[in-house]
């Protein structure tokens, strides 16, 4: 059992969720309520990681983060090490490929808040930020939470992009999904099976937790 890989995976998932939570709330809300030209294009762009093969997406990220790219160059200058094949690069890639999972459910959550309830919040004297905190978020919460759980679970399981952008450096970029693949390549089926089982258990636990929490929210509203 490669505990380092598991720790790395969980850490990657936690960072991704932490960074995407505010993105999920503000982008999801904007897409749900705002009308602007090019909205359809933005929505399609957000969904792109869902339809591209991970290796294709990973390839472009590798090029974009590489030493010869402006991003990779700037990173190298500031932090003194390269962005690709590092944990930070992995987090950045993970944030980008999780955008559809983080934004879409939150958008649906915000769309479910009736317009007159939002208007009532304003007519009760709540500023837009107060209305977000006291009315919109409590009501859109199931959507935002689904977004975060999907992001977490999806990060744990992602393989292709992680391999392309991160390689498989132990303790730095070798996540548990890659470790399983490595073990299978080495005919160590016992270790692979154990790690797979741990992943299944963690996934079941998060999904179960989501259901329990959203059932509680549902009871609160009816």
């Amino acid at each position: 059992m490669d505990w380092d890989a598991l720790k790395l995976s969980l850490s990657l998932a936690a960072w991704t969720v932490a960074i995407l939570l505010p993105v999920s709330v503000f982008a999801g809300r904007a897409l749900a309520y705002r009308r602007f030209s090019g909205k359809g294009f933005v929505e399609a762009l957000v969904m792109l990681p869902l339809v591209l093969p991970p290796t294709v997406f990973g390839f472009y990220l590798l090029v974009a983060f590489g030493r010869n790219s402006p991003i990779g160059q700037a990173w190298q200058d500031i932090f003194g090490h390269q962005l690709v094949f590092s944990f930070e690069g992995l987090v950045l890639a993970s944030v980008i490929f999780n955008l559809p999972f983080a934004i879409q459910p939150a958008q649906r959550g915000f769309e479910a808040v009736p317009r007159d309830v939002r208007e009532a919040a304003a007519c009760c004297g709540m500023s837009p930020l107060a209305a977000l905190w006291r009315v919109e978020l409590p009501l859109a919460w199931p959507g935002v939470m689904t977004a975060m759980v999907l992001t977490f679970a999806h990060t744990l399981g992602e393989f292709g992009i992680v391999l392309m952008v991160g390689g498989a450096i132990p303790g730095e970029t070798r996540t548990v999904a890659i470790a399983i693949y490595d073990r299978v390549q080495a005919f160590d089926m016992e270790a692979a099976g154990l790690m797979a089982a741990v992943l299944v258990a963690i996934s079941l636990f998060t999904i179960g937790l989501t259901y329990a929490l959203s059932a509680r929210v549902g009871r609160r509203l009816s």
């Binding site: 009736p114 007159d116 309830v117 208007e119 009532a120 919040a121 304003a122 007519c123 009760c124 004297g125 709540m126 500023s127 837009p128 107060a130 209305a131 006291r134 009315v135 409590p138 009501l139 609160r220 509203l221 009816s222």
Partner: protein, 368 residues
């Protein structure tokens, strides 16, 4: 603290409206659905901005497209009751009311309970909206609208989402509540009955344009307004006081014209009421009829006769200080040979007065 509104727009719906509501006055914006009355209400609240508009309350400008003033809704001291109440479903009744109070409220819980008691909801403060009936939700919405100590109270079809029996009760409660309100109140409704029994003044809107405005009595006798609302809405308001409830389920009232017998009204003897008498329900007779099932025979005098293009004429009958309107055929008028000054009897079936045609005329406990 009066409310002045001016709105002009060409799209998406045309608007041409100017009106003013004084403190404590209830103005009804009446029109069919799609007439623009709700858009006017949203303009006042700041939820909509027409091309050219001005909204002023008590000298404070909320919106003036000419000078570029446009306060966002949360900075306008306005109380709004939405058509479907729009309560916050995750909050209890009391929390809904407290949510509208702002941070400076000193004892919000006590104030919320006082407001809920004012709308007859004492004891239900800790229920969530889903556990309240439509009428109760409407009362929470009203308490929430008042919690902000608004400078204008806006009611958007507030009675349309509740059943008929609840609506009658709420009508009475609105009248009673007005003793405590000293701000302008705007009621948007498509229900002419509601406007006539509740409002002091009316504005009739058609395709975004004001067709007629003035006191309720003026508007209800304006031919242009009646054409828009439908001639079958023509009715007179007869003030009357409850004298007794009979054993057979009726209520006896005393009007200036004499006694009236109506279906049972839930009001204590001594309560002053407004009774809306539909013009097409009134029968006229020169002689006092005998052997007739109708219980109300009111003697009066023909004041004037208004005839339009249709087959019917409108006869105004003076009964004491008040007036009853009768809409009869031109043929009947000729047969009777009625002319202004003639004595006449207006006949009214007890059962032709529906329960929601009756509303309290004022607040019986005089502003407790």
């Amino acid at each position: 603290m009066s409310l002045e509104v001016m709105a002009r727009a060409r799209a998406p719906i045309p608007l041409a409206a100017d009106f003013r509501v004084d403190p404590g006055e209830l103005l009804a914006l009446v029109g069919h659905s799609g007439s623009g009355k709700t858009t006017l209400l949203r303009t006042i609240a700041g939820l909509w901005r027409p091309q050219a508009a001005r909204v002023r309350v008590d000298g404070e400008t909320w919106l003036d497209t000419e000078t570029g003033v446009d306060l966002p809704p949360h900075r306008r001291r306005v109380g709004v009751v939405f058509q479907n109440f729009a309560l916050f479903p995750h909050m209890t009744a009391a929390q809904n009311v407290i949510a509208a109070m702002g941070r400076e409220a000193k004892a919000p819980r006590i104030e919320a309970e006082r407001l809920l008691e004012l709308v007859n909801l004492a004891g239900l403060a800790d229920r969530r909206p889903a556990a309240l009936s439509g009428g109760q939700q409407q009362r929470v919405a009203l308490a929430r609208a008042l919690a902000r100590r608004p400078h204008a109270l806006l009611l958007d079809e507030p009675f349309s989402a509740v059943d008929r029996a609840t609506r009658e009760k709420l009508h009475g409660e609105i009248v009673a509540l007005r003793a405590h309100l000293n701000m302008p109140v705007v009621l948007v409704t498509h229900d002419v009955n509601e406007a006539q029994v509740l409002a002091d003044r009316m504005v009739v809107i058609e395709r975004g344009t004001v067709l007629s405005q003035g006191s309720t009595a003026e508007v209800m006798s304006d031919p242009a307004a009646l054409r828009a609302m439908g001639l079958r809405e023509l009715a007179a308001i007869l003030p009357a006081t409850v004298t007794e409830h009979t054993d057979d389920g009726l209520t006896r009232l005393e009007a200036a014209s004499g006694p009236l017998l109506l279906p049972r009204i839930d009001a204590a003897p001594g309560t002053r009421l407004k009774v809306r008498i539909m013009a097409h329900e009134v029968i006229l007779s020169r002689a006092r009829p005998e052997g007739l099932s109708a219980q109300n025979i009111v003697p009066g005098q023909v004041a004037r006769i208004v005839s339009g293009e249709g087959p019917a004429v409108i006869v105004h009958i003076a009964v004491g200080e008040d007036e009853i309107l009768a809409r009869i055929t031109r043929r009947a008028l000729t047969d009777l040979g009625l002319a202004p000054g003639d004595a006449v009897h207006a006949i009214l079936k007890t059962m032709s007065v529906a329960r929601d045609n009756v509303a309290p005329a004022d607040w019986p406990d005089g502003g407790r």
